[in-house]
Assembly symmetry: C2
DNA sequence: CTGAAAGCGCTAACAT
DNA sequence: ATGTTAGCGCTTTCAG
């Protein structure tokens, strides 16, 4: 075995190569390659001998070398915000499923909503020569991707549009969804409605806020600036915002929560109050049915699947102008959004 | 541009290489390599020229070639059951975080609880020459991994032990957790307690069932076989199992749910009944606090982090005998588990 | 049906 | 400080 311990590092990853298999099977290198890749033109007998050598040696083709030669890696990269967020799990899974159908693997990365980290991940993926990229943007300037896209890396943005670059994008109808949700509250008789959303640099946050304003304007309702709060979706901030909006006799009688994180905290805050306050949240949540939470639902899995399908269409050579797909949202009435305002409000 | 359209396929991925950069900067290939990798021994002036060429050409190092030479890919593979399951998102994220600290990327795959698919994913990861592997086993025979492990692929199993192979494993204390949960119900006065769990081929399911039996035995309680049901965690099956256990005057007065999927359905079933039934579930769930669900909580993120740290310790050359880490669970009382049995039971 | 030779883009080892 | 050469393990090309 260790006949010649010359190598400074024994390279414990000293795996057998096609050359080794060829030597053992007494055939040429190319024949092994043919067998491994199921190419035609090998005698059953030769094939058997090669297979035996493969088994005996525990050979496994080195895809790095293969990639180097072929140019394609059969892998795609997905950069999202946080895999631990229940919104992104299903999205990622849907992307994986489509990738699998196309024989590709998925490399995942969480940007933690940090533009630098997004870029770092994207470029690392590009260095690995992923065939395509699905990005949920954290930053607002994606010009750094230009050379990559020019070099042929298919790219699709999801959930939020790319900044300063023209590329495919798949979105949920944040504007329309929020507008419908707020209109629903107005239809219950509410006139003082609060909006708590994510940081204003996040596209969906401002779109949903736009929807809120549109619905209020549609109904001819005034918006007090104290009713609107954008910022971190951390529990402390959301709790403070909600309590401030609800305070006093002229406090809001209904809340619109800008995303699932906000909804969760809002539910906790409202659960502790005697007077019922109406609530509609953007994004569905597990067990929201049992808690009776009315939501504007968007389908994360469909978002992911749509993006992935678009990506693979590009990889298959479709060369249309960048698409902008907007997926509809659905209002699901479960009770919390159907609470009327107090009679004395 | 297209001065010479000789190539049959224009290979739109015709990216610049170090050679191109070298030519443009008027330096040798190795100098470019030095600059790209931040190695010492380059004049500031030379470095600047190289950097300019890199910018101008949009060069990005091809890590496939690098990997081929260096032997390590700085990537690890994670095979889990389903990324869309709220239990695995945080686990995956924790693994990613540790990988990131070690400069490695994470490749994800969902086995969908299918042993063949697990193997397929694992072997695909190995072909990509991941440095290490974290596997949540779907199958019960992992001998197919022997050549890989022998070849130096560090491997850690999580959530369930590997089958027929000796390797590191990180588990939650399923047995102890279930035993404590059931003991808690017994302490409330329950004597007829049902157990609904996952398929018996899943290790955690049988371990939790063992815990159930242990707690019952500890209290000298008889177990009616009609009180135990293992199988799919799909809502229909769980609902049927729960309703059958609850039926009749001698039905169970309390339920122990074997995992988060089961708990969710159990909560829905119990919500529709007039007589209160106690419930303790294994795994915490978002919003369980608002719903007052008592659970045995296990920490998915810690599970993932522990496994990843173990993996990287192996990659750093630590060569101890395989470890078996068992993480404790915590009983969180929220109300549903503190309901006493009806007085007439 | 089979194999030898070239080369994918990079890094290691050795010049200069 | 910089360049040259060889070769990682595979696929491609072309010759037997």
């Amino acid at each position: 075995m260790a006949e010649n311990a010359r190598h400074p590092e024994p390279r414990y990853g000293n795996r057998p190569t096609m050359k080794d298999v060829a030597a053992r099977a007494g055939v040429g290198l190319k024949t092994v390659s043919r067998v491994v890749n199921g190419e035609a033109g090998v005698t059953p007998d030769t094939e058997r001998r090669v297979q035996e050598a493969i088994e005996a040696l525990g050979f496994r083709r080195n895809d790095s070398a293969r990639v180097l030669r072929k140019g394609r890696t059969a892998s795609i990269g997905l950069v999202l915000e946080d895999l631990a967020d229940p919104f992104y799990g299903p999205l990622s899974r849907a992307v994986e499923e489509v990738a699998r159908e196309h024989g590709a693997l998925l490399i995942n990365g969480s940007s933690a909503e940090d533009p630098d980290r997004e870029q770092e991940l994207v470029l690392a993926f590009c260095a690995r020569r992923v065939d395509g990229l699905i990005v949920i943007p954290a930053g607002s300037d994606h010009r750094y991707l230009e050379p990559e896209i020019k070099a042929g890396v298919a790219t699709v943005f999801v959930d939020r549009p790319a900044g300063r670059i023209d590329a495919d994008v798949v979105l949920s109808d944040s504007f329309g969804g929020a507008r419908a949700g707020v209109a629903h509250l107005i239809a219950q008789g509410h006139r003082r409605i609060g909006f708590i959303g994510d940081q204003p640099r996040i596209h969906t946050a401002t779109e949903r806020l736009r929807g809120y304003h549109a619905a209020m304007a549609d109904a001819g309702l005034r918006v007090d600036e104290a009713w609107v709060s954008l910022g971190s979706t951390g529990p402390e901030r959301v709790r403070a915002a909600a309590e401030s909006m609800l305070a006093g006799p002229a406090g809001v009688t209904a809340l619109f929560a800008g995303n699932n994180r906000v909804t969760v905290t809002a539910v906790r805050v409202l659960a502790g109050r005697e007077r019922p306050v109406a609530l509609v949240g953007f994004d569905d949540i597990e067990l929201a049915d049992l808690l009776g939470i009315t939501v504007i639902s968007q389908d994360a899995a469909t978002l992911g699947r749509t993006a992935a399908e678009l990506l693979f269409r590009r990889l298959d050579g479709v060369d249309e102008t960048p698409a902008r797909v907007v997926l509809p949202t659905v209002l699901i009435e479960r009770g919390s959004g159907e609470v009327p305002p107090p009679v004395d409000a």
